[in-house]
Symmetry: C2
Subunit: 343 residues, 2 copies
DNA sequence: AAATCTGGCGAAAAGGTTTTCAGGTTTGCA
DNA sequence: TGCAAACCTGAAAACCTTTTCGCCAGATTT
């Protein structure tokens, strides 16, 4: 109390400082601060005041060193640029933030050398677990080397089925879109989508085909129009489709950007959307879908939920032998103005 | 050598394990691994082999606890959703990754309570420094409370001029765009931009006005058309501008999305871009600018460079009394097909 | 008044690494 | 062979917190 009390330290305050100021031992100070119950109420009060005064924050390094748990996880992305990683990352960050866990962000830039380097660094920091975020839904090789902590793969599943992978149900997404078009009374559905090399493109097409088959119909042209994921392809493909199948009354697009090109070209061709033809996108990319003319009906893959689910799953795996199964999450139809019942 | 050597530990290998396996003391093992030169070459070799065998990674917690330096920094964003944070974040991550520094990512979601909470957590993890990424260029209040480590504000400067802030030169950006339009031989330049409440909007307008004044001209309509940052406003404003000033031969847009709406409406109105009227965007948002019709000339703010610069500046501040001045970074003109000399 | 109990507090060890300092061994030279 | 010098190596401390265990005083019981 009287030992020159209020000298602001030039270093961060330590528990010893707090204890000294409160006139107790470090052990007691620790117990008081951590809410252990074998300390008298008045003593606890005194310690807490001292801690407040010094704006004491326990050194997480020391705590981690001792306890074996650091309360940190590594978030390994293969590319931040792609807009798929970001919502996933936000969801995960959210799930962890609530649980007192801090997140190391590492961007491997799609380079496996860099990835290994980052994993090494993360392990040396003794993270409690790892989340690996892919940028495509194609399976990816599992992390190299022995990893002594739980790993959850999200969006892109691990090629090893024993690993925990959280993925998006693209087949279901394709089905959702086409079922909506059919429910609008559309009969002649074409599918314009991205590169056939993408698992996501093939899965969405499979879902679309299945939905059509259930209704006793087939895809216009017999198969999807594979191309690239951008507007340019959307425009080109629209010309092809309309020329070959003038009866087309619905187009299911593999991405919002493709859909955007489709909408533009249909307008140029004088086709009325959604009057004479309905169009759906995929991804529900707000900036594109909500500002096109007409505003675009799309499938939202709930990526933020996906990230949050990955976070929770990692928690479970860290906390103890939780079931380590993989999971697939469904998408959600967001209806805007580009689809409407046949009038 | 002969003491049952190859038992794979169920815990992470420690320096003691390595030393034991190599038959030396921990001190020697440490020196061998860290490249200190007072250890015999053969001994070093033996130690390194042992480390490799056990896939030893030094415990960064222990190292940080001892040295006072943890080799970690906190990256505090106010919203990840906005696409401005991401490139900045990538640039910073890049600058740090090269320097053996790991990054804690925290998203405050624009909430100051949450921000305080994150800062507290980061300080308790003894980060060596902080980068605060804003989502608007308006000055923001500095971090609350005493922060015992260097802080660099990026994109959004701190309201306290004594803090280190790395910002974008929006005035220069506006000037750049308009000078390009003038160089194309345009004379009647209108400016359609976002909300006047944004410093960025006002700065870009100021730059545009200055460039016009240098050429002895004024903005069409006398002032910018402030509105919102999206396509919808771009479309509406275009109608207004063309009606009021049919002689318009250039439109400088405050964002690529606005420009997109402008392009669409000009096409609807039968105005030829870039033949009879030139259009520039702002932000160089690849997904929008590179796929519009015609492809959009825009100003790129080099946000990735901005992030990298912030990272380097933070390094300097950590490593010792580097000059702690603020800096402004210029943008860069990216010419595509929406601007061309008067024909 | 003596014995027992209990609530409250402090001493000490552990966790893994780096660094300093002292001690030990080998080498070179006379 | 003897001595000094150069060269290696190892013991121990420091970093900060948590937890276990023991101790003391005061309260309760006999």
């Amino acid at each position: 109390m009287s030992t020159e009390p209020e000298i602001p330290l030039n270093r961060a305050a330590t528990l010893t400082d707090v204890a000294k100021l409160a006139g107790v031992s470090v052990a007691t100070a620790s117990k008081a601060i951590n809410g252990r119950d074998d300390v008298r109420a008045t003593t606890r009060q005194r310690v807490l005041e001292a801690a407040e005064l010094l704006s004491f924050a326990p050194n997480a390094l020391a705590r981690g060193l001792l306890g074996g748990r650091t309360g940190t996880v590594g978030l390994l992305t293969s590319d931040l640029e792609g807009r798929f990683s970001i919502p996933i990352l936000m969801g995960a960050e959210d799930a962890f933030g609530a649980g007192q866990v801090s997140v190391f962000l590492c961007d491997a830039r799609g380079d496996s050398i860099r990835e290994r380097y980052h994993v090494r660094a993360l392990l040396s920091r003794r993270v409690d677990g790892l989340i690996v975020v892919g940028s495509r839904t194609d399976p990816r090789p599992p992390l190299a080397g022995p990893i002594p902590v739980p790993v959850v793969y999200v969006y892109a599943p691990s090629a090893n089925p024993d690993d925990i992978s959280i993925t998006v149900d693209n087949v279901g997404g394709g089905r959702l879109a086409v079922e909506h078009l059919l429910a609008c009374g559309r009969r002649n559905v074409a599918h314009i989508t991205g590169e056939a090399g993408y698992q996501a493109a093939r899965d969405r097409a499979d879902g679309a085909r299945a939905a059509l088959a259930d209704a006793g119909r087939t895809m216009l042209g017999g198969k999807p129009y594979f191309g690239s994921w951008d507007e340019t392809w959307g425009r080109a493909a629209t010309h092809i489709v309309v020329e070959a199948h003038p009866e087309v009354d619905a187009i299911f697009c593999g991405s919002d950007q493709i859909a955007r090109g489709v909408l533009e070209t249909l307008r140029d061709l004088g086709r009325d959307v959604p009057g004479s033809i309905s169009v759906t996108g995929f991804d529900n990319w707000e900036a594109v879908a909500a500002h096109s003319r007409p505003r675009l009906t799309s499938i939202d893959m709930n990526l933020e939920h996906l990230g949050a689910a990955a976070g929770r799953r990692l928690f479970a795996a860290i906390d103890g032998g939780e079931r380590s199964t993989s999971d697939q999450y469904p998408g959600r139809l967001v209806v805007r103005d580009s689809t409407a019942p046949v009038s």
